[in-house]
């Protein structure tokens, strides 16, 4: 279900989804402004699974051309805020 979510909730959900993709990762040390793919050794299969998880959780379509916007925590949160506000409006 699409609904407005506070930024903190979006961020926490994104971290939870990442934790499910890379359970061995220490998410407390992650730099939100940098690529988590590099920080967590996330490969393309993991990243696709993450995108699928984002789609299932937030019910947003993420075309391949937008993938580059979702490689950091900050990028994900900003992207999802925009998408969710569009779908609301």
């Amino acid at each position: 279900m699409t609904r407005s979510r506070p930024t903190s909730e979006i961020k926490q959900t994104v971290l939870t989804l990442l934790g499910e993709i890379a359970p061995e990762a220490d998410l407390t040390t992650i730099r939100p402004d940098r690529s988590f793919r590099d920080q967590l050794d996330i490969d393309s299969m993991d990243f696709l699974n993450f995108i699928v998880a984002v789609h299932n959780e937030f019910h947003v379509e993420v075309p391949e051309s937008d993938y580059a916007q979702l490689v950091s925590i900050d990028g994900c949160v900003g992207y999802l805020e925009r998408k969710l506000s569009h779908s609301q409006g």
Partner: protein, 397 residues
């Protein structure tokens, strides 16, 4: 009546620890159904039944360490009379608290199957036998690679390789597990470099058609059905093996044995803990969408530590990619007893000449590591050219 044996799930596996039975005596089991979970040096693996029937006896017990080839259970074909194997001595290393009272099966209903004595069954030189005693290796658990399957000193060394001191084994910590995985990889790779005369070939492949096709496909597909470029590469390798089948199979004893089926093993990084290369069965026969699902599934289970026995034991060739680590050319080490490994590097934009004009194209370097006992560079080169040709027609993969 069939004996369910501890399978060999890697060239250097000598034993496995039974974690649990998924079935109990009297249960029906279908061929391919998960029957047990076994802990090896590399991972916890779900073991599939090799036949349909009824579980007559469970011989090994959870916690037992069972040598490769030892009887773990007995499966009776449905409709056939029950007949417990008499006096089946479990070839297991029992947990300390049960060591004094090994479990024996119930009273026999049929006479025992004739069994050869160990000395008659084993072909092993005195030198190798002495080495086995020194290293604490049970020769009956070692698969010989010498003449007529004779066990050589190298076989004993390889079998001893992954074994760590008992104190480390007992600890069972994550660090120990990581060390054991490393030891297993070390043993397999050392054996490969010791025994296999590798040769290496590489070619650069223009991927512009493949990447354009992939982008168009993924635009049409829902996010859950999208394809990765890796699946195109895997399928191209599988189809190329139909044209150069010598690269698809094993080196057994002193001869090459082609596999009638193509089961590509895909190298999966376990991040901090090493690498496994489980098989995607019948890789050449699946449409790309289906192959992608199988690829996702096998990577997921590899990282969760829930691979199945056939996925460990069946790969007929290995494909590895280090492109995501920025590597452009991979010179891989063949995983014995396979006879070839295909490596892919990073997809990079490079100047490319088309019709006399310099253009930027996405290209990838494909490499072949092959066993010179089985093929020569001519066949290896042909294989890489077929992979290239197939990737120029991605819609036909």
């Amino acid at each position: 009546m069939a004996e369910f044996l501890m399978p060999i799930l890697g060239s250097d596996m000598t034993e496995g620890k039974l974690v649990e039975w998924k079935k109990k005596a009297g249960d029906r089991v279908k061929k391919g159904e998960i029957i047990a979970e076994v802990d090896t040096e590399k991972a916890t693996i779900e073991i599939e039944s090799f036949q349909t029937g009824i579980i007559e006896q469970l011989i090994a017990k959870p916690g037992d360490t069972v040598p490769v080839g030892a009887v773990m259970a007995v499966i009776r074909e449905e409709g056939k009379p029950s007949g417990l194997l008499p006096e089946v001595q479990p070839q297991v290393h029992l947990e300390p608290d049960r060591a004094a009272k090994p479990t024996r099966p119930a009273a026999p209903l049929t006479p025992p199957a004739p069994r050869m004595s160990e000395s008659a069954r084993l072909r092993i030189s005195p030198s190798a036998r002495q080495l086995a005693a020194e290293l604490g290796v049970d020769p009956s658990t070692v698969q010989g690679t010498g003449a007529d399957g004779a066990i050589t000193r190298q076989d004993i060394e390889a079998a001893a390789g992954p074994v760590l001191p008992s104190s480390a084994e007992a600890a069972g910590t994550a660090i120990d597990r990581q060390a054991r995985i490393r030891q297993t990889i070390a043993a397999a790779m050392a054996r490969s470099k010791r025994e296999i005369p590798h040769y290496y070939l590489s070619t650069t492949i223009d991927l512009s058609r493949a990447m354009t096709w992939l982008t168009e496909q993924n635009l049409k597909r829902p996010v859950t059905d999208r394809l990765l470029s890796g699946v195109l590469l895997i399928k191209a390798v599988a189809l190329a093996l139909r044209e150069v089948p010598e690269l698809n199979g094993f080196w057994k004893g002193h001869a090459a044995a082609q596999s009638p089926d193509i089961h590509v093993g895909v190298a999966v990084s376990l991040r901090q803990t090493g690498l496994v290369a489980p098989a995607i069965h019948h890789t050449d026969k699946h449409p790309l969408g289906d192959l992608m699902k199988r690829f996702q599934e096998v990577v997921k289970r590899a990282r969760a530590g829930t691979l199945r026995s056939s996925e460990f034991s069946d790969p007929t060739i290995t494909v590895t990619s280090l492109g995501e680590q920025g590597v452009e050319t991979v010179f891989g080490v063949i995983y014995p007893p396979q006879v070839a490994l295909v490596g892919f590097g990073k997809i990079v934009e490079r100047p490319w000449v088309v019709d006399g004009q310099m253009v930027a194209r996405p290209v990838i370097t494909a490499t072949l590591s092959a066993d010179h006992r089985v093929t020569d560079g001519h066949r290896g080169g042909l294989f890489l050219s077929v992979v290239d040709r197939l990737l120029q027609e991605p819609g036909a993969l």
